[in-house]
């Protein structure tokens, strides 16, 4: 690498001497531009996003789903669109939802702000249509015990109400009481996959960040029935449920960032090839 740097500096077009801050400022401008100017970048629908949507859409009335979302504040810029869009679709259906986080302690306030607010806005009744249990400590062991004896491990909800006082929890005993698990976050999907799916054969679909989505793809379609991955999936979901949100603008922003990214790599390689020829 040292030799390459010396060669590049002699080539006359030595980008390494270019202050990286120029690229960073260009990135900042390009990332902010879509928030002020409507770009209107077309968005083809991915089959995986459609498949995720269909899984939720097929839920029968009065189904009970476990909505286990473990995204902290740091992940929100990428994943907020997906979480809110999926929550809106769930809230539009006559199904019952148990909200929980099992891995990330900072996810409980995020769920309260992004998910519970959607259910409230949709006119859902707490305790009848949805329940929020906040963060469940104990990691995979707790998730395993949750599957075997739900009320044995959860006594109160996020607000301190006894589980016995919540009408929709009366018939919840264990994993067999649930129709589906929607998981968000890595590695909580792993906890669900290893403890809820094989033993109880509960369908599991997952919302992931783009990087994690590539990794969990190896579990599709056996353990994971559908994956919603990254900012693009969130934007597509907003289009599907016909409720535009932050994800589309965020995706336009990411798209411009990718253009600069590919351009930077291309420029670096052009200089590299030129310098090798000169050498």
């Amino acid at each position: 690498m040292t030799n390459e740097k010396k060669v590049e500096e002699k080539s006359g077009l030595s980008l390494p001497k270019l202050d990286e801050r120029v690229i960073y400022w260009a990135l900042v401008v390009l990332l902010l531009l879509p928030f002020f100017v409507n770009m209107g970048i077309p968005l083809p629908l991915s089959p995986m996003t459609q498949e995720f949507y269909d899984y939720v859409d097929r839920l029968k009335p009065d189904s009970v789903i476990l909505y286990s979302v473990d995204f902290g504040p740091g992940s929100l810029p990428e994943i907020e669109g997906s979480i809110v869009a999926v929550s809106k679709q769930i809230a539009s259906k006559p199904i019952k939802v148990v909200i929980i986080s099992v891995w990330e302690p900072t996810a409980a306030p995020v769920n309260e702000e992004k998910i519970v607010s959607v259910f409230k806005a949709a006119g859902k009744t707490y305790g009848v249509d949805y329940v929020n249990f906040g963060f469940l400590p104990g990691g995979e062991g707790a998730v395993a015990r949750l599957a075997d004896d739900f009320k044995g491990i959860l006594k109160v909800d996020y607000y301190g109400n006894s589980i016995e006082d919540l009408p929709m929890m009366q018939n919840i005993k264990d994993a067999t009481s649930f129709t589906m698990v929607i998981d968000g976050g890595f590695p909580s999907w792993l906890y669900m996959r290893q403890n809820w799916v094989p033993k109880y054969n509960i369908p599991l679909i997952s919302i992931e960040a783009a990087g994690s989505a590539v990794e969990v793809r190896s579990m599709y379609p056996f353990s994971l029935k559908a994956i919603l991955g990254g900012a693009r999936a969130g934007a597509e979901y907003e289009v599907l449920i016909k409720s535009p949100g932050v994800a589309k603008k965020g995706l336009d922003s990411v798209t411009f960032g990718v253009i600069l990214f590919v351009g930077t790599i291309a420029l670096g390689n052009v200089i590299y090839v030129r310098s090798r020829r000169k050498k």
Partner: protein, 267 residues
């Protein structure tokens, strides 16, 4: 009495695989004791540890080591990789204490602190310099949150101007922050992680990378202990058995006998 009265359905096949794994590892450990176990292939990243530590010693700059955040500490399934990293730290600390090379260990999970303290104390005692041992100067605990921990490591790398940065364990979003900082200050970097989310960032920024299972054999490899190295051969036997099962299952599934395969796996 039926079989499923005392064993869980769907776990029996896995149980026999585990029994095979334990027997294979134990048998090869015994082979290692006798010196008849096959030799391990070279792993460049682990061979480079000596070079990296030597570089830091010559330059008089510190070595930095960390096992990462990874989403969980020693009480989670991520503990295997963290323990593997601590095994490598045991080896590094021996050389560092011997040649008086400054060593800094960044910790994300505080349950590792007593283990590291004891490792370092034993090394200092081994070289008769227990009075020089100051754990607070070696071990830096930052936070159990990924980004706060990464910020602390980044600061440590820059302010301490480390010559060598070794990251072996389980990492998550903090990977690129730490490894890119190390690359910018010109440190020689050896990194290893079992998960696919970290490996690409390490490949892009580090000099040597241990991929997946190479992390778990790190302790056995660097120690040179023949019994531990024998256990790695046992692990390879398990891989060979898995490949055979996958091949048979793939052929049967292609022939339309997928249900037969699944019923066998779900015994």
């Amino acid at each position: 009495m039926q079989f499923y009265d005392f064993m869980y359905k769907g776990r029996i096949f896995v149980f026999f695989l585990l029994v095979f794994a334990i027997l294979a590892v134990y048998y090869n450990i015994q082979r290692g004791k006798k010196g008849t176990a096959p030799k391990l292939r070279r792993i460049l990243g682990l061979d480079a540890i000596d070079e990296a530590v030597g570089r830091a010693t010559e330059m008089g700059r510190p070595i930095h080591f960390t096992t990462g955040y990874g989403g969980g500490g020693l009480d989670t399934p991520k503990s295997a990789a963290h323990l593997a990293g601590l095994s490598v730290l045991n080896y590094i600390s021996d050389t560092a204490v011997k040649y008086r090379t400054p060593l800094i260990v960044s910790v994300c999970w505080p349950e590792e602190i007593p283990i590291i303290e004891e490792q370092m104390r034993l090394q200092y005692r081994k070289y008769g310099r227990l009075e020089e041992y100051q754990p607070d100067k070696i071990i830096r605990f930052f936070s159990t949150q990924s980004m706060a921990y990464a910020a602390g490591v980044m600061d440590t790398l820059i302010t301490e101007n480390v010559a060598t940065n070794i990251m072996i364990g389980w990492f998550w979003g903090e990977t690129l922050l730490m490894s890119e900082t190390g690359a910018r200050i010109g440190a020689i970097q050896i990194a290893g992680a079992p998960d696919t989310t970290s490996i690409p960032f390490f490949v892009a920024t580090c000099d040597y990378v241990l991929i997946s299972e190479e992390v778990f054999c790190a302790g056995a490899y660097v120690s040179g202990d023949p019994m531990q190295q024998g256990s790695l051969v046992g692990e390879d036997w398990l891989k060979i058995l898995s490949m055979v099962i996958i091949a048979i299952g793939s052929i049967l599934a292609t022939l339309g006998l997928k249900d037969l395969v699944m019923s066998f796996l779900n015994i």
